[in-house]
Amino acid sequence: MLLEATNISKAFGDFQAVAGADLRVEEGEIVGLIGPNGAGKSTFFNCLAGDLTPTTGRVSFAGAELTHVSAEAHARAGIGRTFQVPATFEDMTVFENVMVGAFLRHSRRDDARDRTLSVLDMTGLQQFADQPARRLGTPGRKRLEIARVLATEPRLMLLDEALAGLTPAEIQQAIALVRAIHASGVTLVIVEHIMEVIMTLAVRVVVFNHGRVIARGKPEEVVRDQAVIEAYLGRRHRADAR
């Protein structure tokens, strides 16, 4: 068991964003996290990544307890994440962005440089290496974020809507990249709205609504689950879907 999150709840004042959510991820899996907007996916995600501390519950990674540990420590332990709204370092070049990631495991500049170049190669960003990150469009920034995280040599990558806003052609490229990353030995948890991506990539899916997990299972099964359909389309459509 690589990642185990048990009974995670997160409250902001009176508002219960996440309630009693569980997640278990084995090494080598690709797990999808889906649910309507405001369902609590991002909050849950942030609890896994160490950006937020859960109000209750435990998160353990590779046997180590990570619930109350800082985001930096999460990264050092081997959990990497991307952001829903890309948070690339705008003032720095593409190369420099990835270097920041590479420096996590390589304190010497030359070693970090080697790692950076290989990651840029893998993600197809070599030709943009010297461009400032702010000159990239959104798809470029998303890919840069992925490259940057990849440079930290994570065992688990949490992708937060990394494929949103891409054209169909770009989506295919992105799926290929995610597959390649997976093939290199990284376990993935993906939050996504685009069903095609989830169906193609995820081996297992967990569905959120109103801060709770309402369904789990293989993508094909989950998509036909009544509770899931209700969550996305509302009660009225349940009859039509039958």
């Binding site: 950006d51 985001a71 930096e72 990264a75 952001f83 370092f89 920041v100 500049r109």
Partner: protein, 325 residues
């Protein structure tokens, strides 16, 4: 830009020989001193983006320490330099540790408050000269008192320290520490997610900055032979560091030098023209420049240059080939 730095180094080295008049030497010394202080500020304020507006606290500590050891124990002022550095480091840890875990504003507010606090305390404490301040040796007892008749040796001493700081800054720029500083400035949350130890890194930057700011203060006190609460801890010291680094380009290696190159002659000129009312109007000018910088070009002249230079180049090329469409 390699040739530019070579030309600059040559110019700085040759300056006192080319313009030996004491007036020009004095201007040169002012330039080196503010360039040094601003470059020190630049590490934490420019690269890491943690805006200290009370950096004078380190300068003042560095200025008082040498004169204090001289007045208390008759020791050569140079012996006070390490003392100044140690106290500055303690201050840095005291101010940075609680504030770097909070949002950036707290750090800025704390720097002003602590600088003011120290200025007032020093002004009432007889041991450190209270409002009158401290004086250094009137006549040097030996060479290590560093009381030179001419200002020339001071010039080269300041230049050496400045060169050392710039060298260190350059190394930092290329190192993991430097990349982490810029990442923190660019986006703390993202930096954290990549394993950057944000709080610790900011603190180290502040400490490094404090060391060299203290050193600048010490050099000032040794050369001038005098310090008081205003010249050590006054607001002007803090303001000058910020404006010079920001005007030239905060977060760039040569930004503070460029800023000093522009501002020192300007300040000397306004002080001359306006006589007694000089310092007041200097502040008004500084305030105005800072507001304009913030509003229009926070990246300073460095940013402005890189925005304008390509356009100029194209214009020039077009002039050379008027027939080209």
């Amino acid at each position: 830009m390699k040739w530019a730095s070579l030309v600059l180094s040559a110019a700085l080295l040759a300056y006192p020989l080319l313009l030996p008049d004491p007036f020009y030497l004095d201007v040169g010394l002012s330039f080196l001193l503010v360039a040094l202080s601003a470059s020190a500020w630049n590490i934490v304020g420019g690269y890491a983006g943690q805006v200290s507006v009370g950096h004078g606290m380190f300068f003042g500590v560095g200025a008082y320490a040498p004169l204090l050891v001289f007045n208390l124990w008759g020791a050569p002022p140079v012996a006070g330099v390490p003392l100044g550095i140690i106290i500055s480091l303690i201050l840095a840890v005291g101010v940075g540790t609680p504030t770097f875990r909070l949002q950036g504003h707290y750090f800025s507010m704390a720097t002003i408050a602590v600088a003011e606090l120290i200025r007032i305390l020093v002004g009432t404490w007889p041991l450190v000269g209270a409002a009158i301040g401290l004086q250094g040796p009137a006549v040097g007892r030996a060479w290590w008192d560093l009381t030179f008749r001419s200002e020339l040796p001071y010039y080269y001493l300041f230049l050496a320290v400045l060169a050392l700081l710039l060298l260190i800054t350059q190394q930092v720029e290329r190192s993991r520490f430097g990349y982490y500083l810029r990442a923190i400035k660019s986006g703390e949350r993202a930096a954290r997610s990549l394993g950057v130890p944000v709080q610790r890194t900011k603190l180290y930057a502040l400490m490094l900055s404090a060391v060299f700011t203290s050193l600048a203060g010490s050099l000032y006190a040794i050369k001038t032979g005098f310090v008081d609460p205003e010249s050590g801890f006054g607001l002007l010291i803090s303001v000058q560091m910020v404006i010079i680094a920001a005007l030239g380009g905060a977060g760039t290696l040569y930004g503070p030098l460029v800023g000093a190159l522009v501002l020192i002659p300007l300040q000397t000129a306004t002080n001359d023209w306006l006589g007694g009312g000089g310092t007041g109007l200097t502040y008004i000018l500084y305030g105005g420049i800072i507001v304009l910088l913030a509003r229009f070009e926070p990246g300073g002249l460095h940013e402005l240059w890189y925005a304008v230079a390509p356009k100029l180049k194209r214009r020039l090329q077009r002039k050379e080939r008027p027939h080209a469409a």
